[in-house]
């Protein structure tokens, strides 16, 4: 138990002293996961709207499938992306293996089902009245979709925050396709894994606390925007 206390003290010490290596790792974690969350949102919010506002055969099955993929194991995504981007794989020619770019792609893949599923759920939660009103005012399909999205915005933002949270906290993809290269692809979770295996539990705990602190700051910022 003393490790946890020491870990907490160490976390505070590392944050206050702006330890360059820790700051660099934390910055990289943030950068990679914010990028994945942003790109995945750009992709998923319109796609989820398309799915929600269209009636087609197999829609329920598709939604069940999307929800099933909430449980996607990160190592499975890591393995899939590895096989795809490894030099011997179909996209190996791009030379992206063991770079931050491929980590972003992997994290996007991981959080896409969450963003899609939760955005669809958010849109489904909007009162039918909104749609009817928009229609009676002569809105086009696109305008109706925007009206509903606007009503659902809080739940959609929650979906994005959830996606970001899953991205920054995952280990499987980061370690498998990033390779935990010092100064290049090392992020907080892979650093925790390495330090724990080295037996430096205090530093590991400190890094874990820093990850939570970062998530807290990001959430405060995003919440302020939400509530303005």
């Amino acid at each position: 138990m003393t490790e946890i206390w020491h870990g907490l003290l160490k976390a505070i010490e590392l944050i206050i002293s702006l330890d360059p290596e820790v700051m660099e790792i934390a910055g990289r974690s943030l950068r990679i996961s914010l990028t994945s969350a942003f790109l995945a949102s750009l992709l998923c919010i319109p796609l989820a709207s398309l799915i929600h506002f269209h009636q087609f055969r197999g829609k329920r099955i598709l939604i069940s499938l999307i929800q099933t993929f909430f449980s996607l194991p990160t190592v499975a995504v890591g393995l899939f992306v590895f096989v795809l981007f490894s030099r011997a794989g179909p996209l190996g020619g791009l030379g992206l293996m063991f770079t931050p770019v491929v980590m972003v792609l992997g994290q996007m893949l991981l959080i896409t089902p969450i963003l899609l599923g939760l955005t669809i759920a958010a849109l489904s939660g909007v009162d039918q009245m909104v749609l009817d009103t928009a229609r009676s005012l002569g809105a086009s399909g696109f305008q109706m979709a925007l009206a509903v999205l606007r009503e659902a915005r809080f739940a959609v933002m929650a979906a994005v925050i959830m996606g970001f949270g899953r991205a920054i906290s995952e280990l499987g993809i980061a370690i498998m396709v990033g390779g935990n290269i010092r100064g290049f692809t090392r992020v907080i979770t892979t650093a925790i894994s390495l330090e724990t295996s080295k037996g430096d539990l205090e530093l590991s705990i400190a890094l874990g606390i820093i990850l939570i602190a970062i998530a807290l700051v990001i959430n405060i910022i995003l919440n302020r925007i939400q509530q303005r």
Binding site: G27, L34, F38, A88, G92, L149, R182, F184, S197, I225
Partner: protein, 300 residues
């Protein structure tokens, strides 16, 4: 109902996404000022990739040598740690340019298949069998084969195997074989035989927690010694020799492998100056060297 950024409730969602973008941009600007940390897919400096066995990484040797090589040749050296099996697989798939591993038979196979150019030994040390200081199975001072036989026959005390197809795991299998057992029989011999499936450091930690025996390279053991309640019990026998070698990946078999840079790294490792540094690495901290340099004259 047109798209107005920042006006009306709709703008909030846009704002929110914009904030995400700005945040990631800010972080990029504030912290990504060096090329080596940037998220750009193609940093200006050439990169050389090495997959190394965990013992050369966990002991800190690569962390010590990496900046020297980077500075001298103006390249970014990406060091990935993995067991020998995985490191060789990275090489076969073309994901790394050089491997530094320690399992001679498998290295020879890698080269025979055409994936590697040449096996260049650059350092060695010895394996140890470590275990709880009380030594319930009584293996202290035995030969490695005898010690393994004793573990199998007495059933006193657990043994933790790396179980990860690493160089150390290969060595362990070889000792079982020399002791006269079929490895599959050993694996299924009972609850005392535990397969960890992890690197050397975590395996040592696990052995310490479980008061079990394990086979380890001396370098990792010394580096972790302070955190362990394990004593070295078996340290004699030529079977315990542990040679580390570097192999450049052959671009004729694996297109894209950077042979020129790989050769530079191997020349670097075997240069007299670096050999001396390898030989003195850890002396100050652990009272003895972790590795013995052996460029050009590998013990067999």
């Amino acid at each position: 109902m047109s798209w107005h950024f920042g006006r009306g409730p709709w703008g909030k969602l846009a704002h929110f996404l914009l904030a995400l973008l700005v945040l990631s941009g800010l972080v990029n600007g504030a912290l990504g000022c060096t090329s080596s940390t940037g998220a750009s897919p193609l940093p200006p400096q050439p990169r050389l990739r090495v997959a190394t066995t965990t013992s050369l990484y966990d002991t800190g040797l690569w962390g010590y040598l990496e900046p020297m090589f980077e500075e001298r040749y103006d390249v970014e050296l990406d060091v990935m740690y993995a067991g020998t099996g995985k490191a060789l697989e990275y090489g076969r798939r073309g994901d790394v340019d050089v491997i530094t591993v320690h399992a001679k038979a498998r290295e020879d196979e890698f080269i025979a298949e055409g994936y590697g150019i040449e096996r260049v030994p650059f350092a060695y040390n010895y394996f140890l069998i470590v275990g709880p200081p009380a030594d319930p199975a009584g293996i202290k001072g035995l030969s490695p084969e005898e010690a393994f036989r004793r573990l199998m026959e007495t059933g006193k005390g657990s043994f933790i195997s790396r179980g990860d197809d690493s160089g150390t795991h290969s060595k362990e299998k070889r000792i079982w074989e020399k002791a006269g057992y079929d490895y599959e029989v050993v694996r299924n011999a009972g609850a005392w035989y535990i397969e960890a499936g992890r690197g050397m450091g975590p395996t040592l930690m696990m052995a310490s927690e479980k008061r079990a025996y394990t086979l380890t390279d001396i370098g990792t053991y010394l580096a972790y010694k302070g955190k362990l309640e394990l004593a070295p019990l078996v340290d004699k026998g030529e079977l315990l020799l542990n040679v580390y070698s570097a192999i450049a990946v052959n671009p004729e078999k694996v297109p894209g492998a950077k042979l020129d840079l790989a050769r530079k790294l191997i020349d670097f490792l075997t240069s007299p100056e670096i050999q001396e540094l390898i030989g003195s690495y850890g002396v100050e901290e652990y009272g003895m060297p972790l590795f013995i340099p052996c460029a050009g004259a590998a013990p067999e």
